[in-house]
Symmetry: D2
Subunit: 360 residues, 4 copies
């Protein structure tokens, strides 16, 4: 069972509710003798932190992480690493007026029906606040992978579509991503996105997004067919993120429209260097990494908490309406970027370690 | 670890290579006292069987399944059910001339690099022939679900896009699906698809497909957040099928383009009956089934084994070319329909059983 | 993988080192709607707490537990329960003089060789301090089982052998156990044990113990053959406790000396009541609970940290000697009683929940 | 879940009933490029085969194993290895007269109560016949370990106590074990054991046994604290064998009676060679292998199927008596020796592979 645990060899187990006293995770299976300090994790959490621009929720959270175990004299010891983040801005009152209603598009209805009880404050366990713990775990995975794979290794995510507006991924630029509040990789579209999202926010509505995550410097051979295929585990990882409804590997859904000639990536050798002539596969063949860049994209649905009044029912089965005030992101997809990166790092490390057991 | 095992509570472990003496699976965690006979499994296998129309491979396989354990006097006993299918048409010679080459788009390259050895006959373990074992396991899951959920329960899959040609899913008709070789749900498009696929085959090329699987009569409450979400496990299941490159739940990738108002499904109550006014969620909220129809679609890339000559390298690192003769499906997506149904049945039963443990 | 996680359906993952800032666990898979407060856990922790009598270590630990998640308005919600205990009495200086030496009988040598690094303060992760987290998890399991199984349900442990001194288990009395610092079930032997253990302590030596745990009111049918047999999982649970070297179910090792007639428990029916005429099986047949009392016993080796000077080597491979001062239990077996009870509660709940999934 | 699956990285899943058409297992996680042929497995099966001497059941089973997958051109490929053994001597009639009765000491009662159905023929799934599949899996583990660890590696088991008769384990001789039908390691006791067991058989009774398994040439560092400790997994493995009621690691239950000085094994260094001065730990410290010989012993209860008439009830709740004729081993413990060896090989390989993932 893996209710709140992700991964096989490198595993993390998260806990905590949106408005509880704290949240965190245990990272298990981390190799020993890797340098690790709180700041390594904090930098990743800061990317995801709310309240950083007018395009994200104004909820204030410092998201200060503490390492409680598993690190001794600055190095991992191979024992479980416990991370904790105390919550600060828990305005539970915001939720009092909707505590008996099911917000459309949220997990309120299904949690209540499944468990017969729910923590209604900010969605409780179903809140995207849980992803802070994943980002923390991902930061550790990143440190280990950098140690094992060296400088060529890099995982980088971006928003490639904001609502109805795409961007030109051929213009992808890692440096651009860092310097705009959308994690957009294409400088030329920024102005348009900004105007569009402000309009969405002003109208009390919300929009979805597509996030793309790329991983470079990945060795050939990661992935364990048949039921721990690398693409299967990546899809699983991304689909586990709140509000994600679709996942593509390489050409993804588009591959259905290609011919065999267009789709299968030819291989050629130039001296000692092997080269694929295209990357429709997204770096994965038969569930195993091919050494090409791994490319995954996923769709995040628009924020369901909107100002617009919507029809719903309450827990007594009565028809009612709802308008969610609170402090919500007009596009939750933006803050999903560091989460997607974190999940990618975790899956890759998981498979990197498993591959040692399988093939050495 | 779950290299060749799928599922948590209801689990199956598959084995066998494309050109080995046999293939099969062990189904573990099947509840006791469920009526089961070989014919129940055979009917599902027959849907997937090659050589049934001119649109699929002409490889002849009877795919006769035998139950070797776990059933006593016509009923399951709660012990592992071992299923075996002996292979019949093993023309390994077909592969002799390509045994040292890596077929573009196939797992040849990655298996060889990962394991340092590979069974080159028909792709060995990476062949889609493995999916016969899944279909067999899925047939058992279906029998159990029918027993537990009654008549309203139904899982049905269809091809909703054949290469560049879509169909009108609003015209979805279960009866139509059964009566055409494409598992197409829309009668009006059949002629066009037929002509298109014959052209593809004649040209020695291939095309991809989109498959949609729908599940009805599913109780509220299946799914175990956070890391065994129902949509996560369905995505994982579908992505594990050979050649699948993208998965959508409900509105899927398209949800990125919707506004919050368009996307979140309003809820209303009429007497004792609860109703969602739309189903963008695809029947799953917060990773838990909502009682709505569960809708998943996935893209299958075009068959990589094509007649057209392609550039590749051999295992000695030399540039060469390849043209795959053999007997291949012009569109492997078609035979993925019963596989998608099988995986859906397995995931649903897995979660149905897990839910008993979580909430009773 | 289950490095730091115990259980399948009801799972706990522990973290923390002997002299770190805190320790704790995440309990996952706990059913919803069970009343739970910190005090329920605290009472169990207090049984294990050091410094309670002159027969246990004088290390001072309040072991105050906090619930950080998974409980809302006094009830479990079905989401992960995070428990934390902050450490108070961390005299790391005590260990400075032995930081480079391997204490005989301890994990110092193997941890260092395996991981290439170790937290030498009080054994770090290998310290029995980790068992506090298990006792906390076990307290939750107990609450759930009491809720599900009612008043007949009870798990109770005792020390049945202290070093070379046994006791008469036919005189087992639950009330006696509570009232003596040895958890001894036989009042008649108490004086002797007291004198014996004071002598052991005075001499700077230590002694082992046998602990017996009994579970009553257990329904028939818990246990999942073949590789999750109830006795297998109980043995596994007990063997995971620090310093345990042997485990018996029912007649245990002694069963080797019995004849078939002596050993197999006859069954008889009196009206509606089924009765076994003996209980050599220890309440488990074929890995499944039979409804009889479940009886397990296990041996705890003598404390390895003793005043007596012992030969060992240091991490540079040099011969040296060691005499461990610190504040150690003369018999660690005594404080293993609440740990054995906790593990029993956890295994039973795990199987109780799994059985729902298997057979309902 | 692991109902019928054993192991984490190196895993086997068994299937089959005592009187079904066949039994077998899937071995998953076996490293690639290991030479393997059916004969490697057959030699181990032949050690366990019934009908080899007058001291074991006269049921005739050739136990011929076939490899159905996972091996290509004489080498493992890293894909699942499916093994099958067809049953030959299925005299189900022998069981007709007891099909409604619960044999005391057997799993008949608990299987029926748990599942509401049971295959009464020879115990069905609860029969020790299942252990043939384990021996087959263990043979593969042995081949891999021999390949990885070289000549120093050896696992050898023996019967060290037959009913009420012990033997002198100080006289342990591997060569003696091979040459007597009891797997007894002490030549001097053979005559006595022979006379004793013939008496037991003649009287229609049965006796228990203690089996000891030793593993040499094991590297330091195997074992994953806290909940995959090597001793925990070994205890678990042995306790999963039919009729096992107790397990000791090293001094085992006896350690309770030792003082700290007697029990903890001193360490000393002579040049480059590290030496433990004793081995009460049984080769495992803190759940991790220390490089010493690993020593485990376990008790097998006396065969429950005896000629002597015993009281029991039938499935309708009526009192009755039973006398089991069939063809049973007077001491099932004897044939448990190759099973114990197999389980040890499997656990060791499992941890050997896991250690690669944890620490490389």
């Amino acid at each position: 069972m893996s209710f709140n645990t992700f991964g096989k060899q490198f595993r993390f187990t998260t806990w905590g509710e949106s408005h509880g006293p704290a949240l965190g995770c245990i990272v298990d299976g981390c190799p020993p003798n890797i340098k690790l300090k709180e700041q390594d994790i904090q930098v990743e959490l800061d990317k995801r932190k709310p309240g950083q621009s007018k395009f994200t929720t104004q909820r204030k959270e410092d998201d200060k992480v503490q390492i409680l175990s598993g690190v001794f004299e600055g190095k991992t010891t191979g024992t479980p690493i416990s991370l904790i983040i105390y919550n600060q801005d828990m305005r539970s009152k915001d939720y009092g007026n909707i505590k008996d209603k099911f917000r459309p598009g949220h997990a309120d209805f299904t949690y209540f029906k499944k468990y017969g009880i729910r923590d209604y404050r900010g969605g409780g366990r179903s809140s995207a606040r849980e992803t802070a713990a994943r980002v923390a775990a991902g930061a550790i995975a990143k440190k280990v992978l950098e140690n094992k794979l060296g400088k060529k290794f890099k995982v980088v995510g971006a928003v490639t579509q904001l609502g109805i507006l795409g961007c030109d991924t051929a213009k992808w630029n890692d440096q651009v991503i860092k310097k705009n509040p959308f994690f957009c990789p294409d400088k030329s579209i920024l102005k348009l996105w900004k105007k569009y999202l402000l309009d969405v926010r002003k109208s009390g509505s919300s929009c979805g997004a597509v996030i793309e995550v790329r991983a470079r410097g990945i060795p050939i051979g990661l992935g364990a067919p048949i039921y721990s295929k690398l693409d299967m585990d990546i899809a699983s990882a991304m689909m586990s993120i709140n509000a994600v409804k679709g996942v593509n590997i390489g050409s993804g859904m588009n591959s259905a429209q290609l011919s065999g000639e267009q789709n299968s990536d030819e291989i050629s050798q130039k001296g000692k260097k092997l080269k694929f002539n295209s990357n429709n596969a997204g770096g994965i063949l038969g569930g195993i990494s091919s050494g090409q860049e791994i490319v995954v994209s996923f769709a995040v649905k628009p924020t369901s908490s909107i100002l617009t009044t919507r029809k719903t029912i309450d827990k007594f089965g009565k028809n009612t309406t709802i308008s969610v005030k609170g402090r919500h992101d007009p596009c939750v997809g933006i803050r999903a970027v560091p989460v997607g990166e974190a999940m990618m790092n975790c899956v890759l490390l998981d498979h990197y370690l498993m591959n040692k057991a399988q093939c050495s």
